[in-house]
Subunit: 168 residues, 2 copies
DNA sequence: ATGATCTCGGACAGTTTCTATCCGAGTTCT
DNA sequence: AGAACTCGGATAGAAACTGTCCGAGATCAT
């Protein structure tokens, strides 16, 4: 009788973590930062991180510049970019719970005309996701940077700025 | 310039929907209901639904009985089973966001002794997931059944009970 | 008591999604 | 104008989800 529990879970794409850290890092530099440099700082595969940065670019969160002095930079001040925007840019806009209209199938199927409002189960799941989104909507990249700095007693962000400026 | 958006999203297992509907259905019957019968009612693949019902059984939400008059039944009153329990049973206990400790990697890696508290980004994501869980924790299977019944003006649950009792 | 029928339970493939990588298009500096 | 460096999308590999099958166990009829 082994307590074999499946630890699958509502998996959030791994790139979300890298994207959030990248945005916090970018908030500490006014000059464009190449993807390879972000990958080196975060210890992640360069090519794969680049793919996620492209998603941020498409979402209008960062702006990319090509060429020798190119790289990525935030399009707006860090206090005007919410964590929710970043998560949605990487993970997609589609809700986690997708109702397949079970009530319209089987021997007790309801007619479509009586299913204009989402079913109660879908409503409950949507409300939960809205609570999740609200929590992330009110957290900005600037907030995250400030908290990380506080955790390190004000040394972390300065160290990042210093590292970004050196060894270009 | 096609607005090609990736609609991947924090995908929640499809079986969550079937499990929630199954629990609502089981709340309308005091006798065990076979998996094949639930699948017929919901219009889902019988064998695959059975797989998810096994997960509910392992989580202690339903009790299975073998044999000719066997099937699944709820282990507790429907007002003592939260939607969160059902979702967790199917989708797993692991949080959606998994921190890989980026701060401990790269040239600016922090020593492990200064990383006993989760990093600020992980804390923000955990808080959002806790808000999501709270919303689902306060919704019971009985609530869902009552709301579905209200949506159909009090006919849906009676129809389910009637269908379960017939054509055995 | 025995056999047959019906049930659940875990082990077995197919398909989609995520992970990871490479090379071409465009831009800047020499 | 040439060279070096950057982003961008198209291309393989791995993991997870989706779907299915057959065996183990229990109940009812004989």
């Amino acid at each position: 009788m082994s307590e074999l529990s499946t630890l699958a879970a509502m998996k959030l794409s791994n790139g979300v973590e890298w994207a959030l850290h990248s945005c916090v890092t970018l908030s500490q530099s006014r000059e464009p930062v190449p993807a390879a440099r972000l990958a080196e700082l975060h210890g992640t595969p360069p090519a794969y991180l680049a793919k996620h940065l492209q998603a941020l670019s498409r979402a209008g969160i960062v702006h990319s510049t090509a060429g020798q002095v190119g790289g990525y930079e935030l399009t707006r001040p860090a206090d005007q970019i919410s964590a929710l925007e970043v998560v949605r840019a990487i993970d997609g806009e589609e809700p986690a719970y997708r109702c397949t209209e079970i009530r319209q199938r089987g021997p007790l199927a309801l007619p479509a005309e009586r299913c204009q409002r989402p079913c109660a189960i879908a409503r409950a799941m949507a409300a939960a996701e809205e609570a999740w989104a609200d929590a992330l909507r009110h957290v900005t990249i600037a907030d995250l940077a400030a908290r990380i700095d506080a955790d390190s007693e004000g040394t972390a962000m300065a160290a990042v700025s210093r590292w970004l400026a050196t060894a270009r």
